[in-house]
Structures are given as structure tokens and as C-alpha cells.
Assembly symmetry: C2
Homo-oligomer: 205 residues x 2
């Protein structure tokens, strides 16, 4: 649908805004806007304000850069979490993914990206200094590098290792191996090779 064919400028604006969202085309945007039009003003105001408030009132944790309602995020504030283990991740989605496993009781450090020369992202663009300060200030026993298994991830891992090893904490990465539910014949050779080298004694689970 071309612009001129919208019966209302306000409608057009809303559709334009929605179609700036990832994966939302103009037709979907129009459908979403029409569904909002059918609601009562109260709902729609709540919708619009939730977006505005999100951006204006959200905090990023002073300690780990995780998204938060307060200066310090709920995880860093939680005394039951082991502050001597820091899990370094790329973004907030990764924190949520790891939290969903309910396996991790340490704290996090969100880099806000990974080193990617192609995208012009260097160490200085990431929250690496604040990570170093945390390690420097002592009390950190282990640093888990939980970044993507991509070249950028490996580069960042290497950079962090070089930078942090001088404070000699234990630096670990996530185990590489065959994913649960994967069939061997469809597993790529690099993963399979790593899984073979890092094989573990069999234990009944």
C-alpha cells in the first residue's frame, strides 16, 4: 500500500512507526494499528505509555549492566547469588537464557556486544573496563566466558583472557559439545571433534 492511500495522517504515522520494527512489514503494521483502534482509549494509552516509560525509566545495573528497574539489578542485589563467580555475556537476552536454566547461582557481566571489527565494534565500545574493575577489586574466584561460539566470540574471549588473566582468576568457557537431542550424523565436524576431545567418563543421569 502506498502512503497516499491512507485515509488519515494519524493512521499513516502509526503504521509507519510500527513498520520500523524488525520483521513487521507495512501490511502487518496496518493490521496491528487497526487492532489498537478497536480497543478502548485506556488500553491504548497504557500501551503507548508502557513503551515511553520503558525507555525513560529503565536502568542498567551499575555493577553488571543488566537491565533493571533500579540502580542495582535484582541479581546483583540477591545475597543468595555467589558474587565470586562472574558470567560474562554479550547481552540481556543471554542473561535471561542462562537464568532460564536455573543452573547458575553466580552473578553476570553484560558486555553489551562483542568485538567485531567488521561492524566497527572495538573493546572500547564494550563494558570491558568496568569488568576489569570488578575483577581488580578482588573477591572474584572464577570468570565464565559465555559468548557466542563465533569468530567474534572467540576474539572477545581471547581479548578478555589476555586482559583479566593477570588478576589470575579461574577463567572458564561454556562446554562445547553435541547439543542434547542432536543426531551425530548432523553435527558439524568441529563440534563433534571438540566433543570427542572433551569426552567425559560415562555417568548414569
Amino acid at each position: 500500500m502506498s502512503f497516499t492511500e491512507y485515509p488519515s495522517r494519524l493512521l499513516e504515522n502509526a503504521v509507519n512507526e510500527f513498520s520500523t520494527l524488525p520483521g513487521i512489514g507495512r501490511k502487518t503494521a496496518f493490521r496491528l494499528v487497526m487492532s489498537l483502534l478497536r480497543r478502548n482509549s485506556e488500553d491504548v494509552r497504557k500501551f503507548g505509555e508502557s513503551i515511553i516509560k520503558l525507555h525513560e525509566e529503565i536502568h542498567y545495573c551499575r555493577v553488571c549492566n543488566n537491565i533493571s528497574d533500579d540502580e542495582i539489578c535484582s541479581i546483583c542485589n540477591d545475597n543468595k547469588r555467589d558474587r565470586s563467580i562472574i558470567c560474562v555475556v554479550e547481552n540481556i537476552q543471554d542473561v535471561m537464557a542462562i537464568e532460564n536454566t536455573h543452573q547458575y547461582k553466580g552473578v553476570y557481566h553484560v558486555l553489551g556486544g562483542i568485538i567485531s571489527p567488521v561492524d566497527g565494534i572495538g573493546p572500547s565500545d564494550l563494558k570491558i573496563d568496568s569488568l576489569e574493575e570488578r575483577v581488580q577489586s578482588g573477591g572474584v574466584r572464577e570468570i565464565i566466558l559465555a559468548l557466542s561460539t563465533t569468530m567474534e566470540g572467540d576474539t572477545t574471549n581471547f581479548y578478555l583472557f589476555k586482559k583479566l588473566s593477570r588478576y589470575n582468576p579461574l577463567i572458564t568457557t561454556l562446554a562445547r559439545g553435541v547439543a542434547i537431542g542432536d543426531e551425530l550424523e548432523y553435527t558439524d565436524e568441529i563440534t563433534l571433534g571438540r566433543a570427542l576431545n572433551n569426552r567425559n567418563p560415562y555417568q548414569q543421569s
Copy 2:
């Protein structure tokens, strides 16, 4: 993802709001919200306000109930449109669809739905009285019933015909036939039968 796992209440609210939209699940909602978080406040404020303004400042044309920025919509205001022909449609999308054909130079009347006992929608729930007034006030030569070819559409067509024929305007419906580009073998028999009965003298196009 369950609620409790969101690191922020504000984030959760925004995700909840987005996931109330049709066809938007919680994961997509989260992705959309994160994409908004990456934008600057100015953009996000514009986004939120476009939604709120849409609902609070939008008008429905006093004449045809089309969506509009003013009391009277741009089509009813357009002196080049033939006000003696009224095309009766179900909703605003239909107006836009017909406008996109660039074939129609008359005006519209948006019913805001069709008679559907199943959904508890009766004539009184639709903008039928205002349509009757328009016809009653005279100057209407033709009424085109452009409703869906469903049972509800047919019911509404019949009701409108009964109600409006007393003012004896010409009452027409959209031609039924084989859609352009359709293959006969895949055309349903009812459409094909109608197309056969309403066959036209061949003309080179």
C-alpha cells in the same frame, strides 16, 4: 518465558502489552521491545505518542464513518467525487482496497461490520440508520453493496435492499465471477456457475 524471569518490571509490562497484539507471541513481543530499547528516547517517544495520538485524535467521518483526521473525511470532502453513488462497505480496509483499484469515483458508507447473529451483531449495531438518512435526503442515484460474499454479507445485502429499495435508488452488487489469474479447474462450482450465468459478450482488452 515465564513472567518472573524478566529482569525488569518495565520490560515485562512492555512485553505484555506487545503480546496482546494479534499474531504477536511473547518471544516476538520481547524481540520488538528489545529493538525499541536500542533506539534513542526521541524515536521511542515518537513511537509511543503516535499510538496514543492515533486513538485520541482520530475522527470517524460524520457522513460515511470512514476514518479521518477531520469531521469530514477526505473522500466526502472531495468535490471531484460523485456523491450520487454510495458504495456500502464493511470496514475501513475495504475502503482502502477499493481506493487502491483507482476505479471508483463515488463516495462510501462504512457500516462498521456486517449482520452476524452468531457474533450477536444486529442491524442496530451497524451504521445503517445514517445510511438510510443519506439515501432519504435524496440525490442518491446508485447504492453499490460491496460486502463480503459470505452468508453474513448476503444477509446484510438483503436487509439493506429491503430497507433502502423504498427510496428506489439503483441498488447494485459487485460482479461475481472467476478472479483474474484463476484457473478454472481450481474455481469453486458456485463462483463458476455464477460466472457462467453472468457471462458477457467477448471484448478484446
